[in-house]
Amino acid sequence: MTESHPVLTMTGIDKSFPGVRALQDVDLRLFPGEVHALMGENGAGKSTLIKVLTGVYGIDGGTITLRGAPVSFTGPMQASAAGVSTVYQEVNLCANLSVAENIFIGREPRRFGAVRWRDIRRRSRELLARLDLDIDVNAPLGSCSLAVQQMVAIARAIDVQASVLVLDEPTSSLDAGEVAQLFRIMRQLRDSGIAILFVTHFLDQVYAVSDRITVLRNGRLVGEYPTTELPQLSLVEKMIGKELDVLERLDEQTGRDAAAARRDTVFVEAREVGRKGSVAPFTLTIHAGEVVGLAGLLGSGRTEVARLLFGADRADHGAVSVDGEPIALRHPVTAIDHGIGFCSENRRAEGLVPELTVRENIILAMQAARGWFRPIPRRRQEELAERYVKALSIRPADPNIPVANLSGGNQQKVLLARWLITEPRLLILDEPTRGIDIGAKTEIQKLVVQLSDGGMAVLFISAELDEVLRLSHRIAVMRDREMVTQLTNDDSVDADRIMQTIAGGARPDEGARTDERAEV
C-alpha cells in the first residue's frame, strides 16, 4: 500500500498567528487507501494544519501538493472542489437550516437551476441510514443534540466524491455505538481508495482504525510511524515529549470506594424534577463529597438534567432543595448562590466569551457572583488566572490573550478553571474531557477525585463509560429522557451492565428498578 505515491503531501509548513508560531516546518503525507491518525496534545497544531490544508488560513511557508500538483487553496470551497472533504473540529454547520439541507448545501441536486428539495430529503435519509441515524431530516439542525450534529457533519463529508477525507475530532461527542458505525464506514471508504486524515484524543480509537500516525508537538513534527510499530506508551511519550507512566496510573484508578464518600450529608435533593418535552420527572440526591455519574446515550437527556439542576432551564415539575431548604431555581444565579457550578458541554455557544481574555473568562463567574460593584482587584485576578493556567497547563500560558485564540482543548480548561475558582459545593461537569488530550484528561480526572475527597460534590457527565465508572460513587442511567435507574458503583457494576440498562434491550425488571430507586 505504501509503495504507491502519496495523494497529498505537505512539506515544510509554517504558520504563525499574532504571538504564536502554530506550525513550524511540518510535513505530512497521505496515501490513498489509508487511515492516517494525526496526534498531538491540545494546541499542538492539528486543527491549524488542517485549516492550512483546506485554505481557511493562508500559509507563511511550505508547499502542498495534491496528486502530484502543487496547490494553494484560497478557501474550503476550492479544497472541496479539488476533492478534499473536511469535518472541522467543533461542529461547523448552520443551525438554522434543516438537517437535510446541511448535508447538501453547496451541492444541491438541481434541475434547470432549481433546487430539488425532494431529492435532497430522500438522499439525506439514505445517507443518515448508512450511519444508522433515524431522525427527521426536515428538523432544523439546531434542535438536534451536538452528537447528532456531529453525525450530520460526517454524513455531509462522506457523501462527497473525495480523494482525501479529513476528520478533526469527529468522535469527541459520539458514543461507542456511533463510533463503531463511523469506523465501519471509514474502513469502507479506505478500502475504496480514499485517504483519510483522522484526529482524535482517544488512543484506542487510533489503534482500532488507523494505519499510520503522524505526531505533532508544539507546532513541530515529531515523526511519522506505522501504527503497528508504535506502542501506545511510546505514542503518548512522543506526544507529550517526556516519559510518563500515565497509562499505568490510569488503570489503577478503576472504581471508587462508595463507602468512602461522606454519604451522611445530603447536599442537593431533586424531587420529581422534570420539564415537559425535555426530561421526565426524576428524583436525585447528591451528597457532599460524592461523585454522581450520568450515563446514557446521546440525546438521552443528561444535559437536560444538568441544566435543570443549575436553573439554566426552568423545571415545570418538582422541587429542588439545597441543604434541606427548598430553593426556587429560576436563574443560574440562584444555583450559583447556593454553591452550584456548571461547566457546559457546548463551550463555544454557552461557555466562553471569545473576545475577553483568558483571565477575564476565568474570573467571570466569580465576579458575577460578587456583583459588579465589588470588582475583584486586578492583582488578585492575575494571581488566580496564573495559578490555574499553571495548574491546568493552559497554553499559551499568557492569561492576557483573547480566549478565542486558544485551541479547543485549552478553551475547555479555561472553562473548567472558571468554575474551580468559585469553589462550588456541587460542580456539574458536562463532558469536561471532550476534546482534551490524554495528559490533560488524566489531570482532570485526578482533579475530580481530589475535589470530591475535599468534600465537593460532582455531577459528572461523560460519553466515555470508562471514565464515568472510574470516577463515580454512584451512576444514574438515562434513557429516552428518563432517569431509568441509579446504581451504586460497587463491584457488581461494570460497563456491560450499564450498557444493557442504557440499551434498554434488557430492561431491568420492575422489582429491581424500584429497589434501586428505594435505595437512593
Binding site: G19, G58, N218, A349, L352, F373, R418, G435
Partner: protein, 372 residues
Amino acid sequence: MSERTSSETATVDPRAGGLGRFQAVTAHRLFWPVVVLVALVVANTIYRPGFLSIQVRQGHLYGSLIDIIRLSAPLILVALGMTLVISTGGIDLSVGSVCAISGAIACLYISKQPDQNGMAGVLTALALAFGASLVLGAWNGVLVAVIGIQPIIATLILMVAGRGVAQLITEGQIITINSGPYKAIGVGHLLTLPLAIFIALAGVLLVAAVTRRTALGMIIEAVGGNARASRLAGIRSARVTLLVYVISAACAAIAGFMMTANVSSADGNSAGLWVELDAILAVVIGGTSLVGGRFSLGGTILGALLIQTLTTTVYAMNIAPQTALLFKAIVVIIVCLIQAPAFRARLRRRRRRPGTPPAAVVADAPKEQVPA
C-alpha cells in the same frame, strides 16, 4: 511543556528594527482617527488661517476650537451611552427623541415658572426631565431585555413615538425660555471655558468610573460577547441590558439639556434630530464593534470630536449641508477603512510582497475568529 515559541515572535517584523516603536504607534487602534482629525484641523487652518486662534472675549476663551469642543459636548454624552448599549450588542435609535423630550420637559417647566431665573425652579425642571428620561430608558430596556424585542426595532418605537411625545409636550410650538441658570448649561462658562465641556467631562469620568472602576465594564462586554455564556456564568444579563439603556437615556437627557440651553428654546421637532446616527458613527470610529463586546470610551470621545469637527468644517467652508453628506461619507469610509485590520493586512502584504494575488490574503485575515 514550557518551552514554547510564543509571544517573543510578536507581530512586529524583526526586520523593522528601530522602526518598531513607530509601527507600534501606527498600529494603535486610534492612530488613524487622530490623523484624520488633525488633517481636518490643518485643512481648516489652510482655508482660514484664523481657525486656530483663540482670543479672550468678555473674559471667556473664544475661537473655533473652543466652539468645536463645546458643540461636541452633547454628542460626546449621547455617544457615551451609545457605546455601552452597542457593546452589549444592542443599539439605541431613540436617543434623539429622548434629547427632544428631556429638553421639552425642562423648558416647559421653566417657562411656567414666575421667575425663570430661580435656581429651585431650574433644578426641579432638570430633575423632572431627567426622571422622565430614566423612565424612557427603562422602557427601552424592558422591551429589549425582558420582552426580547430586537434592539433596533424596540428603540425604533420610541424614536418614532418619542418625537410625537416631545411635540405633544411643546404642543408643536418652540418654547422659548429666558432663564439664566438653564442657559448656562449650554453657553455658560467656568474658568474661561464653556461649562458644557465640564459637564461632558464629568459625564465621561462618571461613566468611565462606573464601568472601569467596577466590574460593570467587563460584565457588559461579556454580555455583548456571548449572552448565553454570560447567563450561565451567573450574570443577570437582563439587568445589565436594562441598565445600559437607562444610562444611554440619562446621557441623552443631559445632552438634550445642552442642546436646548444652547438656543434657549425647546423644539420638539428638531432637537437632537439624527443625533443617533452621529453617535453610532462616533462609537464605531472609536473602535467599538457594532456586534458587541469590547468597548472603548476614549475612542468614542475621539469619534465624537472628529464628527463635530467635520460638521464645523462644512459650515466653515460654506458647503451646502446636504452636499456635505458626501464629504461625511468619504471621511467616514476613509477612517473605517484605514482602521480595518483586513485593509491594513492587505496593504502590508502589498508592500512586502508585491505581486501576490490578493485572493490568498483574504483567507489569512482574522475572520470572525475561529475558535479551536
